[in-house]
Point group: D2
Chain length 477, copies 4
């Protein structure tokens, strides 16, 4: 039992692939620096290649026998090559710099995957937004009908939130993609290692310079989970809307749903609910990691091992949620009639009515607001049955109240017209110019997609180069 307590098998499985890369780069550098001999390097690199090819089988059968993946790999090499060869891989290195490097390698890929998924969600949002430019719906504040807008305008708001999430991931990437390798336990090493070289071989932008900092720093984990938290907040808001829109009362949308074990008529928005819930799982990772790193003296402490699974969990929850949301939005059926019907309710033209009095008749805004507000209240109190009756009553009451100013029926009708209302709101970023907004965002999105693919390509090139360097030493055997 107490041995298991020390293990972190799940996280180690994820790290395995990165650890092999780190081992390779380290061994290539050791050979280049003449810290180990070429044939030793060749033998180790060849054995590492075998191990890599074993993959899952190694993880299932060998990893559980050891405390962690680093030990499992080294012990296997020693078993296969003998201590005199295999026992040289860990020269000028410690698990402290090794594991920090592995986590950064896994994380930078997770960031790219998540960035890519975000882009594909944004693509879907933009595509749906371009279909719904004429779909009138209530704009809400406090979940109350506030002012009319379009579904397109609404979807763009979500697009923009995810755009900032994308930016933050980019910023996190630049701080993540730096190499702690060569810091050894905490104070570097007496061997003449070349940290820049291993950083280059592994596709890092640079090294994390100070060696104590290299093995102590986990701020990149906090930053990454904070990015995920922000994404999940934004997803949960959209998920909440989808859940509301799927209710009988709203009936604005049909989304991915499941059935019930007891109620045959139901279509439950489980996907959206789970996205909403998984947000909280990510918040939990945030709390866990913050309190875990709090007050840890330098440099490495074992507490840090417990932080890694939270990082991986946060990314898994976030990535799967982004993907599910993309599918939900792509497949959503929006009920334009219901949206329009609700948009007509609730006197959402009130602001415009007051604004019209200001624009056309010189009223002070506050006064216009007061008049419209009280008139609506009077009408509501007398509670006419139909929407039309209410509007007629309102029109008449307003005209009689403001008889002196020459208020025309046309003026009032236009102010009360929901569509006209929307078209008049030409404010930058407003509902009247979503077409330009959409066009502009296609450009932004293309740029962001290129950012990701460019990074992916550079990593691929680095790792291909590492493979070539590895092969060189193996061939020399």
């Amino acid at each position: 039992m107490s041995e298991d307590f020390l293990k972190s098998v799940e996280a180690d499985r994820r790290i395995f692939y990165a650890d092999i890369l780190v081992d390779k780069a380290h061994v290539v550098m050791l050979a280049e620096q003449h810290i180990i001999e070429g044939h030793v390097a060749g033998a180790i690199l060849s054995a590492l290649g075998d191990l890599e090819r074993r993959g899952e089988e190694f993880l299932d059968n060998v990893l559980p026998l050891y405390e962690d993946v680093h030990t499992a790999i080294e012990a296997t090499l020693i078993k296969e090559l003998g201590e005199d060869i295999g026992g040289r891989m860990h020269t000028a290195r410690s698990r402290n710099d090794e594991v920090a490097t592995c986590i950064r390698i896994v994380l930078r890929e997770d960031i790219l995957k998540l960035g890519s998924a975000l882009n594909s969600l944004r693509r879907v949002l933009l595509s749906r937004a371009s279909e719904e430019t004429e779909t009138i719906m209530p704009g809400y504040t406090h979940l109350q009908h506030a002012q009319p807008t379009t579904l397109s305008h609404h979807l763009i708001a979500h697009f923009d939130a995810f755009s900032r999430d994308f930016e933050r991931l980019e910023d996190a990437f630049k701080r993540t993609n730096r190499s702690p390798l060569g810091a050894a336990a905490l104070a570097g090493t007496g061997f003449d290692v070349n940290r820049e070289r291993t950083a280059e071989l592994l596709g890092f932008y640079d090294i994390v310079e100070n060696t104590m900092d290299s093995v102590s720093a986990r701020d990149f984990i906090i930053e990454a989970i904070a990015c995920c938290s922000n994404i999940m907040v934004n997803l949960s808001r959209l998920a909440e809307e989808l859940i509301l829109w799927s209710t009988s009362e709203f009936s604005f949308a049909d989304i991915m749903a499941t059935g019930s074990s007891i109620m045959p008529q139901k279509r439950n928005p489980d996907y959206a609910e789970l996205v909403r819930a998984k947000a909280c799982t990510v918040f939990g990772c945030m709390t866990a990691v913050l309190s875990m790193l709090k007050a840890l003296p330098l440099s490495y402490n074992r507490d840090m091992q417990e932080a890694t699974p939270h990082l991986f969990n946060a990314f898994r929850a976030t990535l799967s949620s982004v993907e599910v949301m993309r599918d939900m939005i792509a497949g959503a059926h929006f009920n334009r009639e219901r949206m329009r019907e609700e948009a007509e309710k609730g006197e959402m033209f009130a602001t415009e009515l007051a604004d019209m009095l200001v624009r056309n008749h010189g009223f002070a805004f506050r006064k216009a607001h007061r008049i419209v507000s009280s008139t609506i209240a009077e009408i509501c109190a007398s509670a006419p049955d139909t929407l039309q009756a209410r509007r007629d009553a309102l029109k008449n009451r307003l005209k009689s109240k403001l008889s002196g100013i020459g208020l025309s029926d046309d003026e009032i009708d236009e102010a009360m017209d929901i569509r006209a209302n929307i078209k008049r709101r030409k404010t930058a970023g407003g509902p009247a110019n979503v077409e330009q907004a959409i066009e502009k965002r296609w450009e932004i999105l293309k740029k962001d997609e290129t950012l990701i693919s460019h990074k992916e390509e550079k990593l691929r090139e680095s790792l291909e180069n590492l493979e070539r360097e590895t092969e060189k030493w193996i061939r020399k055997l």
Copy 2:
């Protein structure tokens, strides 16, 4: 009681100054766009100036009578200028875009203040680091003696962590300094407002374009508190070290302390303890804001009001902690003798001993590690009394164990020499080259200080320009 429930007086006090700026920029723009007449603008701007000058007195006496600061200001203007003048300020605007703009104005200043404080902490750390390049101390992992290093090397590790915190603040600034103004309630307005103009007058880089996003987005709050959380984690780690170093057992440092009400001999590291504790207060703000924003449908919801105080509290706690830490480090007395004394303990030369066997005698690292490890264990079991006796025993045992390889006394002595040990660790970022590290960091710090002062200057210029534009309309009266 229930009215108080709606209020956020403390946050509103902080926002007051920003709100006056927002009012001014909005009114100037309204006049420029001919949405209100010049003389109306002049009168309102003049009254706003008066209000600004009342400052604290207004906050103490008038604010408490109203639901929030926006209402208090408008109501005061209407009282003073009449509804026909004062009632025009809120034309083409809503409290939703107004408050979002105010929070961003306050936050961008908080970010600059915090960035500046961080720089001044970094300056102190670097300055102390340059004094302690020869101060040998134990380097710890798991709070166990691991390998010798210098206090300078250790302080630079902290410097570097705070440098990344500084970078993150910079990144947050660029997303914060954008203007939601003109989004009105959520859907823009039918008036021909110029959002870019108010953004420019208020020193924003750009507008937050989509109007629903403008009033709904609070991700910048999450990002800012995440920055604070990371800073506090880093501060708490340093604080923990100071607390440990102040114990009788460590006796590595004397820091800012207080007395006891009952134990006359005590010197309690209260400042460091409170820094450590305030980290958690900031984590609490993180949890609060994340769960608060979770699942809020667009656009504005009153829940958001409750988020703002957490933002301000997080910055207050972080700023004061950074400042206290700066003072603590500046005033700390480090006990170099005790650090050195401990550095001699605990066989911290063991890694070097093993490395020497690798370098000089061709041992495989794992084998050398195993031999040194077991030999130390044997010596410790026989428990010689003094440090010197233990070293002698170790040397003899090693020599007899490895008699075949011609191990010399000098080799072993050198490996066991702590200072030589440090000097040999020439790895990039290691303890043997802190001088270059310090020099490089003075450059980085200067650049970062310039970044802040440049931003401060640009904001100052913008606001001076706003003042000039304001004056123009007042003079036209």
Copy 3:
């Protein structure tokens, strides 16, 4: 600045009243144990009485001059009585046991206040439940119409959740109401103090025995905030429902609302939104305190000072939220027609239809479920316009599908009848027997109200007795 960093003025204001009580009990005990002379006790107690009467004035003018309230009180006594008298109050005591005792005194009152407020919310819920026993509404799962129920049944569900919250407060009270006083700094004292006596004078159930534990333990704070968190979760769920029910789309309820600065027609459910948000503020307190207390070595550390304001904030937020919720529920107008209208929608009779096939015709549940489910799906696909048309179509389809079993129109009609549906659900705790449920809960509530008033009375008696003992020594002067 650095002095302010150490202060906790807000928390100290709340503690003042408790601190005077602790001072009195301690001085009475010191005199009884002959540790100080009677006339000294009399003089101190008399001065403490004066100080207590100064109240707010002392807090405004004197407290800010000192580090904390304990010091402020002692220093004032020394100033007034001279060190030879006033300097004896702190004999055999430390701020460590003193402050722990004060926090417990404040907390036990907060618990009683909150328990009392919860009871008054439960009273309102039960009262509304007894009015709405015939109000049919949709019962939701996944916010989808699931099965019909009554508003009464729904409100009782909330009542029961708050009943468990009440129980938890009771449990927390018994662990809170114990006295750390006499533990001194951490190791008791060489004076012959009587800890049981001060505990009795202060109305505590018992002492916190081990003296290190007395000053180190803050688990009662965690437990209390956990109670608040659970209450706030339950409140937030009810608040969410009120917000949904207030939407145009649901239109199930009118609740306490506010107007808009720009949209004259709006009624925003700000109170409910703020209750929902304040839940998260309390969660933040939980995170803060947990991470703050984590890994603190025994005994007292200054970090603990930072925990107290989170305790007080959590209770303030929770208490005010409970009170606001009580007012909201008491004043809510429920729209029975809309609830009924929605209850007719969505084939909520489906479960009953399947159950009827099981009961009357021996179908296996899963088969009946499958048949009803597919039949409804077919009908929905053909999309008849009206509710009635849909039901007729469903009836016919079912009858033709199951022609062999002799399904009667009456059977189907009854199964489809919402009211009959509800009446048939006689399961314990189900919607068909809310009357008995309500009656039973009035009994539970009365018992719980008595629990609180009994505790309040006992505390009052203890403090009156303390006052009498105090007077005794003053009279002896």
Copy 4:
């Protein structure tokens, strides 16, 4: 991918055993109430028994094919028995009440296991405390030497903290062990089910009455995780001490440790570090669940599924940490000499010196404190080399300062004697009477151990009875 998103395989594996129990009790009750026929019940119960025996094999091979464990079991039964038999198990039930019942069954066992582990940790603490009654050590506040105490006294403080944790688990148990079964989807059922009977068969104390509350309530999860959080806070404090005590600087203890991959001399307190870290994982579960349940409208929502794994994770982390801590304490070697040596340092007799002036010479406490304090400060400033020299200097300085009062050498010596110091602190719960304290706690512990075994026995009896009832129906086949 999107199907996996809905699954909760890990949690479902844990629930499997409970689900079989729930199925059995439900089917027995259905037969007793004549809702299904006896032979149907017999067949289903027999098949459930087979399934139970398949255990792991079923979980590995069948569970992954279905959405959840409930569906997997029912589908398997239908496959084996045909729909006309197997399809009757889910009569009068829903997954909503089913899963809530399963979670409570698993949780109540987890609570008992954790309570039992806590008791065994307390047993070890008490046993070590009884060995260390004469082990003098520094008592700390602010991690500074404050007053001398014994290791026994210190360990009892931890014992008492865990005793309250035990109490809280007991309180949580009584709210957990209640049955939601029979609530069906949310509104009970039209079948004549007997909820009290299934509750009895499953060993529940009572039913969760209101049927909406039954399926909506997850407050018991919050309460349970809050209990775990408090336990983990207490464990983390002890773990922190063990980590400190294991440092070279303290050298107070040797505890369970591991080696280093690079530094052969190291013994790292990984176990204690991981206990400290796992505390934060539990805090993360708290944050996750609180924010997840926030604002969920009644009744069941899929979000709740995501809460269950956090409950199970919290208990796994807590249980393993308690067990590891028990082993660490049991195996710890305490270095009594070092503790004693440190206890002599730092003028920890200062309080007693001041107290002696109060007791023997009538000084006011504050004055005595001031004199001792300033005298010590003077001595420290002149910095005599050895402990003895410092004490002599202090004695002389005091005597000359207070020459008028006839201060004797003996008085001062006795006050300065650490052991005498401890013996004099006869305060209830103080270090002078740990023997009685230990005796009293053995009694408490025995009572608590009985509480657990009594509960375990009653559950065992209930489940044996359920097995008998099950057999009855199978035999009737």
